[in-house]
């Protein structure tokens, strides 16, 4: 170490480098000072003048959800203010949590475990509000609001809830909006959904979610010490209210249709049924009833687990829209396909007569007509009008399964119609290829027979069936059924006016469809549908009785009843040579077990109401319990 004193090396220090370094320090710290001065003094007045103990958070500005009207402009759903209790976990000190949760539970009439489960199940961060309870009554809301200091992190908000004017009448169409689930939030968080958000879950509310919701804005909000909003500081982005919708549904028609169905349900004890009313010229749906239904207001208020379990357990599936979300064998209504096919493929003409019998024999199997005596020599009007099974066994045989499938698809069967409701199913149109794929064997001739009368592998949704007959009525255009007519912007202007959507034009001569319309008229005139011909209006249509399930002790099968009918524009004097029909109605009665065709009676009752026919043509004695096939 002594060397160190004597033999000291020349220092490497350089004054200029030291000064340069010092300069950098001065410049750097001056920059920081300037910035601090700007933030705290120049720009700082803004937050401080507000309140020393207030804090700022960014909140979403919820956009008012669009309203839904029927075609006459009647509001079907409105937004009503409701008290909602929410909690921001980050504002609730952890050690106080048990106390806060207990107090809240007592006030809301819930258990602490329920509330804890909600808080812990919160999919967002601890800075996000968690929705604890909705539709809280005013008194409770007030109590919680006033107990603010004892309930840190708890907020009472006034939020809009959906109020459905008609409950079960429209719930199968409208669906409902309800609090978003954790799984939905995961995928929708980036789209701006909040953990305590509402979202359209089913029906029109779900189908048109994006339009109805609008676009949320955001604002910075000052909150007081207990976490409640005290003042809006700045609007960062305005909210854009959701669009409103005008439906093609007419409440009056919907009520007629529901009334007709409910009458049959009461009279016969049917558990499920569908009535659909459409305009064949546009694809507009005027009424769509699927029973049993449910009250969508229960969901909008926040359904209890017990109530939800009850709905799920109901064997008649009230949450399912049977008009679009389930498919059934079409029965004789499907004879439209075979009839159109043999005429278009020129297997027969309108004058060709075919021998009908009590049964046909194929190999060792007898294929019975529903009328065990047969109808003798029949042309298409006779065969379709009497709904002769042996006639159509032969027609199906002439066509073969693949041509039958081709014509079914021409009518739009076998794929969803694209109606603007979620969850539509496709139905099945059997062909050789289909059966090979699904069941591993080609179609047997007997199965082709069965397919010709709608009793084979073919299944259809009620909406597909009415849409097919609508194409018959309008001269061969298959439209996409539409529930929503117009989309109306927040300012009341129509942003998307109604436009019929053509799915396909049928590749069929108009003369063939004219024959089939008149054949459908003969169903009525030949009194296959009893006294429907006596009504002061002209109806054409087709009934169907579709067996399903397993035989009872007497070897009888349960069956569904179908009827689909349409009227010319001039309902009293019009003709079915024309294609001007403005109204088509379908009724479907699940497991009907009556002597007559209950669906025909339902359509009849609907038409009586629609056209204001005073005289009652209904035939209650035909609805006595019995078996259609056995009684004939």
């Amino acid at each position: 170490m002594s060397v160190f004193l004597d033999d000291r090396p020349k220092p490497i220090r350089s004054l200029s480098r030291f000064l340069a370094f010092a300069l950098i320090v001065i410049v750097g710290v001056s920059g920081l000072t300037a910035r601090l001065f700007y933030l705290q003094i120049v720009d700082g007045g803004r937050p401080t003048t507000l309140s020393a103990r207030n804090r700022t958070v960014i909140d979403a500005i919820r956009s008012p959800r669009g309203v839904i009207y029927d075609r006459e402009g009647r509001a079907l759903v409105t937004n009503v203010p409701t008290f909602v209790v929410k909690l921001r976990p980050s504002d609730m000190p952890l050690d106080q949590r048990p106390v806060v949760v207990d107090r809240l539970a007592a006030l809301l009439g819930m258990t602490a475990a329920e509330i804890n489960a909600i808080i812990d199940g919160n999919p967002g961060s601890t800075f996000d509000l968690v929705r604890i309870a909705g539709d809280v009554d005013r008194l409770t809301a007030q109590l919680i609001s006033e107990a603010g200091a004892d309930l840190p992190g708890v907020e009472v908000a006034v939020e809009a809830r959906r109020e459905y004017a008609d409950g079960p009448l429209m719930s199968q169409i409208l669906g409902y909006s309800a609090p978003i689930s954790g799984d939905q939030l995961k995928t929708l968080k980036d789209a701006g959904y909040l953990p305590d958000d509402l979202i359209g879950k089913v029906g029109i509310e779900a189908e048109y979610e994006t339009l109805l919701r609008g676009v949320y804005g955001s604002e910075s909000v000052e909150r007081d010490a207990s976490g409640r909003r005290s003042q809006v500081l700045q609007t960062i982005a305005e909210a854009r209210p959701g669009d409103s919708l005008t439906l093609s549904i007419d409440t009056k028609e919907q009520q007629y249709a529901q009334k007709a169905m409910l009458w049959a349900m009461k009279e016969v004890g049917i558990k499920r049924g569908v009535v659909i009313v459409m305009n064949p010229q546009t694809g507009e749906v005027l009424a769509l009833v699927s029973l049993p239904s449910y009250d969508n207001n229960i969901f909008a208020r926040g359904i209890s687990n017990a109530d939800y379990a009850k709905l799920l357990k109901n064997p008649d599936k009230p949450l399912l829209n049977h008009a679009i979300q389930a498919h059934y064998p079409p029965g004789s209504t499907y004879k439209l396909v075979a009839g159109t096919g043999v005429l278009a493929d020129k297997k027969i003409t309108s004058k060709t007569k075919v021998q009908t019998k009590g049964y046909l024999t194929l190999g060792s199997t007898k294929f019975y007509d529903w009328n065990h005596r047969g109808f003798g020599a029949c042309d298409i009007y006779c065969g379709f009008g009497h709904s002769s099974d042996t006639f159509f066994f032969q027609m199906a045989g002439k066509l073969g399964i693949d041509r039958l499938g081709y014509w079914a698809k021409q009518y739009g069967f076998g794929k969803p119609t694209g109606i603007d409701l979620p969850g539509e199913v496709a139905g099945i149109v059997p062909t050789n290829e289909w059966k090979q794929d699904v069941l591993g064997s080609p179609v047997f001739p007997g199965e082709t027979y069965q397919a010709g009368i709608g009793q084979g592998y073919d299944v259809v949704t009620p909406i597909q069936l009415i849409n097919a007959y609508a194409a018959l009525a309008n001269g061969g255009t298959v439209y996409q059924p539409q529930i929503v007519r117009d989309v109306v912007g927040p300012d009341g202007t129509i942003v998307r006016p109604f436009k019929p959507k053509v799915l396909q034009k049928m590749a069929v001569p108009s003369s063939v469809l004219s024959i089939m319309r008149n054949a459908a008229r003969s169903t009525v005139t030949l009194r296959h549908t009893y006294n429907l011909v006596d009504l002061p209006i002209k109806v054409a249509g087709k009934s169907g009785t579709a067996e399903f399930g397993t035989r009872d002790r007497k070897g009888r099968l349960p069956f569904h009843s179908w009827f689909v009918g349409f009227v010319p524009k001039d309902v009293r004097h019009g003709s079915f040579d024309g294609t001007d029909s403005q109204l088509i109605v379908l009724a479907f009665a699940y497991d009907s077990r009556t002597k007559g065709n209950v669906a025909t009676e339902i359509v009849k009752y609907y038409l009586q109401q629609h056209f204001g026919i005073k005289k009652d043509y209904r035939l209650p004695n035909l609805l006595k319990r019995g078996n259609f096939y056995q009684s004939n």
Binding site: R13, G28, G31, L39
Partner: protein
Amino acid sequence: MGVIRAQPARVTDWAAKSVGAAWRAFDLQLTTYAGLLVAIGLVMAYTNSVESGSMPLEAGTTFSRGLMWAAIAVVVFVLATAFDYHWLKTLAWPIYALQLGLLILTLAIGDGIGGSARWVSVGPLTFQFSEIAKILMIIVLASYLASREGRLDSLASILGACLLVGPPLVLVMLQPDLGTSLVFGAILAGMLWMSGASLRWLAVLAVGVMAMVPVAWTYLLHDYQKARLISFLDANPDIQGAGYQLYQAQIAVGSGGFVGKGLTNGTQTQGDFLPVQATDFVFATLAEELGFIGGIVLFILFVLLIWRVLVAGWRSRDAFGTLFAAGVASMIMFQLVVNVGMVLGVMPITGIPLPFVTHGGASLVSMAAGLGILQSINIRQTKAAW
């Protein structure tokens, strides 16, 4: 150990002088400024402890842990002052090995948030070895550059220094701790500058680093790092996401005003809006509660401290002392600007602590060691330059 052997040597060397002369060479100012900064840090820890609702002196609070670390720092400082810094040159290579060992250990057994490995648990304490690695890096670099005295303006010296810094820098980056690796870069730059390295080669080096930036951006940085780095440039920041801390910090700073809201009254900090208020965003708490005045006082203390560090370097008669002081000054300066700049929204978000103030044991202890070594340098010069 060095401490025991160095002590008598000093006394004998300076036999002619009084012990008082050594004491006079001890830079009281340097220690005072650092002490005041630590005190501010403790006050911030106190206010945070109060605001989180616990008694400040309870075991385990930010404040009580801060007190404990401050005590440890004092001991380390005294030991480092007593230790003859000349030994450090001898021990340079073992120290380098120790530094690399600590960083590798961190990667191997470290814990961190979101898959990173930054903290090592030693009993009840967690330790961020990368903080210690910074001081060790300065020692190693100073030794190396001092050993090349006379050839310091050659390219070889610069490259040698870069090669020394490379491995620890990469190890820190792998943790991944982008901020600390940048501190390594700043230390290297400051020390090369003070070593009198050729301006031409330094310029080449600077251009080279610039050219590397796009490459690093594309291939080396994680997406979250990029998001944090650029969030301060964003005019409409994602205030619920990467820009959240920044937005809340700016509200805290802005609401402080000229004199602040008073200690323990910061509502931003009280509301836990600042997720890392006790550590990286401590300046936001200070600015909110002590206002512009508090911020200026802090800046002045830092400027005075850096000045005294530079003075120690200037007074050093050997290159090691000058270079060591340059390293410490660069580190303090860089961390001050980046940390405070981050809170003020003019620097990217990186996890760099504010020296002395940030609550964090390793940072404080390594700073104490650094200042102790500086004092050791101060009192072991026979003649003060000024």
